[in-house]
């Protein structure tokens, strides 16, 4: 199910694949019911930025952005090297582990961090 060609595939393609996988997972969809958020992926070494828009219990959109208001409401901000983000969204690296390893930083409310942890268990651990 996961994109195993991650090393040769860019973050953009990996995220498209992730969107499909997310929306195919009934548990992930249940978990984000009522949790409408913009998740900003911020590749700190390349400057690339992507926004994942979670709305109406689905991952509605993945888009590359030039800039994004980091103080926007309902924003979850995830920062790390592009290779790390690619590893994560291709399924090779559980984001909960990446956080413990200091490979990514997350800027969000505590409530949103719990939601991300739950999503990590559903998508990365249980598949």
């Amino acid at each position: 199910m996961w994109n195993t060609n991650a090393t040769t595939t860019g973050l953009s393609e990996v995220l498209q694949d992730f969107q499909a996988r997310f929306n195919d997972n009934p548990r992930a969809k249940k978990l984000v019911t009522g949790w409408d958020r913009s998740v900003l992926l911020d590749a700190s070494n390349t400057g690339n930025k992507f926004v994942l828009a979670v709305q109406d219990h689905a991952l509605r959109e993945v888009r590359k952005v030039a800039d994004f208001d980091e103080d926007a409401e309902n924003l979850v901000h995830l920062q790390g090297d592009e290779s790390v983000l690619t590893e994560i969204f291709s399924g090779r690296y559980n984001p909960a582990t990446a956080l413990v390893d200091g490979a990514i930083s997350i800027f969000s409310s505590d409530r949103d961090k719990v939601k991300l942890e739950a999503l990590a268990m559903i998508l990365w651990r249980l598949g």
Binding site: R27, K30, L31, T33, V114, K115, E117, A118, M121, I122, R125, L126
Partner: protein, 416 residues
């Protein structure tokens, strides 16, 4: 070293400190005063349990809105350790009680809170957790007994082989199969009030240690309880036990055995400083072998204690995550699909680590105290007997190690 800079990384916040001091006070003034008699007579520590209720300690794990103390697992662990240092039997009764609480919080409906959980929060009720059955012994995820629905009631027929506070508890949390034809781990959970007819404690508890526990068998002999006493939905019991009981049960069990080991260690340090041989005119503290054994005890206790504190903080975080799954109605399926989550393994390691440490430390304490500690009534003698129970309590250390090894090696867990 002062804790101003929090150099040990584990400084308590003001509220946790308040609970710790409160527990130390009750332990010093009440538990310690009764501990020797409770042990000698194998009598239930009624006065000590009453004191825990009056100090708010019995209700500390329940929400403040219910009248409880609103404390988490970490604070409960700090308190348990203090109690176990003074009277291990009381600490174990308290511990089995506190192990019921997170699950009650997770499953209670507003009606259940009003009708029977508020008195628990206010420290007016002691709970017992009746899991072990004769058929499965220490493998406490497997139940043979069951409940059957009859109209608005359930008829529970369940024989539990050990139950701390049996006959003295104000309520029992009871996992049984949800029906006669169902699988051993399709469990339902009942809050059974202690005055329900046909609850029959069996015989007397005459243990080697933890003699005040009243851990005798108990028979729920076709007990009838109204359906409102079922906690959570039918068949989801094992998932809720894994998520909400197992973490506090394993952390608190470890805290009990850290407390027992500390009591033995402190008594040993005191003894070897005071015991002077006339031929050398020196205390035992001057004997190198004694110094080494004292140091070994201290190292063993410190290593386990800091691990217990770290993992109990982790357990509090895990509860937040489990609440997230509960609130989205995913808990049962996530727990069933995830029996070997690394968190469960981490928390499971506490059991053999603490229980084996307690056996080692109490044994070394007896060694350095010599014949004095071998006599009935010495603190080290009592700790030696109390400290032996943990390793056989369910899941036995041996079973726990098999569970851990199975997970590491990627094999299925025995309850799946």
């Amino acid at each position: 070293m002062g804790s101003f800079l929090n150099l040990d990384g584990l400084a308590l916040n003001a509220e946790q400190g308040k609970w710790k001091r409160r527990a130390e006070g009750v332990a010093r003034e009440i538990l310690r005063a009764h501990a020797a008699r409770v042990d000698q007579d194998a009598s239930f520590p009624r006065e000590s349990i009453r004191a825990l209720g009056e100090a708010g300690i019995l209700g500390m794990g329940l929400p403040k809105e219910w009248g409880g103390g609103g404390q988490n697992i970490f604070t409960s662990i700090i308190v348990t350790e203090q109690l176990a240092k003074a009277c291990a039997a009381t600490a174990m009764c308290f511990h089995m009680h506190q192990s019921t609480l997170p699950l009650l919080i997770a499953t209670a409906t507003p009606e259940q809170v009003e009708t029977f959980l508020k008195p628990v929060a206010m420290g007016k009720a002691l709970g017992a957790y009746a899991m072990s059955e004769p058929g499965s012994g220490n493998r406490i995820w497997h139940m043979d007994s069951h409940a059957e629905r009859e109209g608005d009631e359930y008829v529970i027929d369940s024989y539990k082989s050990f139950c701390t506070s049996a006959g003295s508890a104000d309520f029992y949390l009871l996992p049984v199969r949800s029906g006669p034809g169902l699988k051993p781990n399709d469990l339902s959970l009942f809050f059974v009030p202690g005055d329900t007819p046909n609850i029959k404690p069996v015989g007397v508890w005459d243990g080697m240690g933890l003699r005040g526990n009243g851990s005798r068998p108990i028979h729920f002999d076709r007990c009838r309880v109204h359906k409102k006493y079922m906690m959570g939905a039918e068949k989801t019991g094992l998932s809720f036990m894994m998520a909400y009981s197992l973490p506090i049960y394993l952390c608190g069990m470890a805290a009990c055995y850290v407390g027992i080991a500390q009591a033995a260690y402190e008594a040993a340090v005191d003894h070897v400083k005071k015991r002077v041989h006339t031929d050398t005119n020196k205390s035992l503290a001057h004997v190198e072998t004694v110094q080494r054994l004292i140091a070994e005890m201290r190292v063993s206790i410190d290593v386990v204690r800091s691990t217990v504190l770290r993992i109990s903080q982790m357990a509090d975080n895990a509860v937040v995550l489990f609440n997230e799954f509960k609130s989205t109605d995913l808990l049962d399926e996530v727990m069933r699909d995830n029996p070997d989550d690394p968190f469960f393994i981490e928390v499971a390691t506490l059991k053999p680590a603490a229980c084996e440490m307690a056996i080692e430390v109490t044994s070394k304490a007896m060694q350095v105290c010599g014949g004095a500690a071998y006599k009935r009534g010495h603190i080290v003698e009592r700790a030696y007997r109390d400290g032996r129970a943990g390793s056989v309590m369910g899941p036995s250390d041996d079973t726990t190690k098999i569970v851990i090894g199975t997970q590491i090696l990627g094999l299925p867990q025995p309850w799946v």
